[in-house]
Symmetry: C2
Subunit: 431 residues, 2 copies
């Protein structure tokens, strides 16, 4: 795709060249580093494949003429200096980690596309007033430590290092240990977290490019989604514990099967989400851990991870409260023990009006079709919104699919998203 | 415990010496080879710990003066020759593998206790007419390949090598590959299975010593359970598959969550077992495998392993049929795909009258309290019953607990079980 554009805010004509197919080739190159066979992409924080993906991202940043910086948490920055050396930066970026069995576009489009946007601006001869940054946020996905958005959460000052120290991966490692082994980290978790902190003083705006992960744009035949708010995510860990026993010998009336308590709760979680009567409420039991998980044993311990989101914070909190109450009632009736832990309960984020305006200006400049929409998935943008005016650019993805190997966005949709991103970043940075 | 006994059938006074504490010491020594920390015992077929356990069992057999033989499937035999070299053997034995997070007594009491029984007979100067054998059956538990009683099932001619070849462990290995790596196996699965075959011509009777795995003996204050029948076990693998998706972005009405279908079925499985109105029906969803099993993903695929048992075969089959029908109805309503596989559907086994009589004769000789009972758990005895008159001796276990780290049987109960086993074997072997 070759876009010849007059870029109004900079009062200069910018010839932006964004090659959608080249970006797709880079996305496919990145997708090879996966713990599961292609087309599935599984890339967990600080694994060998994650380290290889990081090296490739840094290579692309270097080739785009960006200055590379990595912080203690493992966030990777590529920077295009501004003409005003004291100005706060305008940033873009997303993540490259992937949950088990995911696809090649979630997050990666915002990292590789962000690099492409900065490269296109630089190659068009644009020098921003404020510095431009593209960030590869560390572990947006919660897979390894059960904590989503570790990188952006830390930048926003919302990660308590004492809490971080309580988390363990399947091997019993802490984040600090894993980060240190990967060449990041610090002398303590407190120092590691402090080392990644950003403030409004050094961040002027944030804008993330991402696939929609929903079907609306494709269904309505629109090219760009202008995000105005990000839904409020929350996650609970609910563990039921019974006495287990032999599947043949333990008679039915004597059992307290932990998985049956979990099964009842899972069905209630669905009912609770449907019960608000509002399409924006979603609730999911995504993770089931059963012990001992053997065909001839009554489950002794079953832990569920429950994800609840809504664009309305109080309504979301009402669903969470109902789930906790139901879990307690089930535990009492089924005579199992119950532990509930709130993994996160974050507020929704409203996007910054100047960022939304910059995106809509770029959409107009490019003559694209668009609509305003809400992000139901959360993103690093949710946390960046705590410290800077924030926005998101969505592009369509096939059937709204995401977190699946057959996730897909077209080269032309990707190129258009990058062009919108580049123009909006230029407008926000001034030049 | 020192037992001074007149042993009527052999027309000779036998001084049997069974040291319960020594047997318990051997059980605790065996329990150290576990993939989970003590007191949990996790020992899967042909793992390092299983191989160490096998070496120890063979050492105990050697110390008891038994002749060791191992077959192609990995069954281990210790033999005390009889005075009639052409006679079919009288066998005892059980298993030493353990499901994840199990205890130190399930199966092991019948292997180490079986060795102790043959040793006590030999040391008392008893020479059997028929040979006596103690067997460590290979993989009674289904953990590694999803198939229970691989050893005894094969001895009885009830394992189809073509079916065995369809099974894979978590690493994608076949039984033949795993057995070969462990020093067993053969040129093909057919040869491996043929190499472990037993027939009525070489097996005169089988008697297994085992902890009850239920609460009845302890509750009634009885020392010995004389098993007259073994419940009919069956297992299904039910897999629901949906489209997955992002937990934030995929709206509730568009979902086909595989785990919710599974949750509904699990609750029905409990209802179906309770619904027969008979205490002997038990049904369990012991194993849950969820993909991708991530907090922010709608479950795409959920596989359940369902165990159904009853002492009445047709009643058990009615429950199985109801579960299959319910699974189909759930799959249709929730728009998920369904695969059902019958892992096994074995008939119940009635014990041989002469074996039951030998056990009851031994109980009388020793002046012990006992009752006749049904084994609700299945055992290798279930398959040995297909080729020889079979029986089981149960001893009490604390609270009826089994398949748990706190599984326990007292040294005196274990010693009494071994004495009953030894006397009954002597009676069955003649001498
Ligand atoms: Mn994601
Ligand atoms: Mn993402
Ligand atoms: Mn068992
Ligand atoms: Mn057993």
């Amino acid at each position: 795709t070759l876009a010849l554009l007059s870029f109004a805010p900079a009062a200069a004509a910018l010839k932006l060249q964004v090659d959608g197919q080249a970006v797709v080739d880079q996305l496919m190159h990145l997708a090879q580093w996966s713990d599961d066979p292609s087309p599935a992409v599984t890339r967990l924080l600080f694994t060998d494949n994650d380290m290889k993906a990081r090296a490739y991202v840094k290579q692309l940043m270097r080739e785009a003429g960006l200055q590379i910086r990595e912080d203690t948490m493992g966030n990777v920055y590529g920077r295009l200096p501004g003409s005003d050396p004291t100005a706060a930066a305008v940033a873009t970026g997303s993540h490259t980690d992937a949950i088990p069995g995911a696809g090649a576009y979630d997050g990666t489009v915002g990292v590789i596309g962000g690099i492409a946007a900065l490269r296109a601006l630089r190659e068009a001869g644009f020098t921003p007033a404020k510095p431009l940054e593209v960030v590869m946020f560390t572990s947006e996905e919660p897979t390894r430590f059960g904590l989503s958005c570790s990188g952006s959460r830390t930048m926003a000052g919302l990660l308590d290092p004492a809490y971080l120290d309580t988390l363990r991966d399947v091997n019993g490692s802490t984040y600090l240990q894993a980060a240190t082994a990967a060449g990041y980290g610090a002398a303590s978790s407190a120092q590691m977290v402090a080392g990644a902190r950003r403030t409004p003083a050094d961040l002027a705006a944030f804008l993330e490019l991402h696939i929609e992960q929903g079907p609306e744009l494709e269904k309505e035949g629109l090219q760009i989604g202008v995000v105005t708010a990000i839904a409020a995510p929350a996650a609970l860990r609910v563990k039921f514990s019974g006495d287990g026993g032999h599947a043949g010998a333990q008679l039915m009336p004597l059992r307290n099967d932990a998985s049956l308590a979990a099964a009842e709760l899972a069905i209630f979680v669905e009912q609770a989400a449907l019960g608000t009567g509002v399409i924006d409420t979603v609730a999911t039991v995504g993770s089931w851990q059963v012990q001992p998980n053997a065909v001839n044993s009554v489950p002794r311990e079953t832990a569920l991870e429950i994800d609840v989101r809504d664009i309305d914070g109080p309504r979301r909190d009402g669903v969470l409260a109902a789930i906790k109450a139901k879990a307690a009632a089930i535990a009492e009736r089924r005579k199992v023990r119950l532990q509930i832990e709130t993994i996160n309960q974050d507020p929704p984020a409203a996007c910054g009006t100047e960022v939304v305006a910059a995106v809509e200006g770029a959409v107009r400049e490019l003559g694209l079709s668009s609509k305003r929409m809400v992000s139901r998935a959360y993103h690093d943008a949710l946390f960046m919104a705590q410290i800077a005016p924030t926005g998101m650019v969505f592009i369509p993805c096939r059937n709204g699919w995401s977190h699946r190997p057959d996730e897909f966005a077209s080269p032309s949709d990707i190129a258009r998203g990058i062009e919108v991103l580049a123009l909006a970043l230029a407008q926000l940075a001034g030049g």
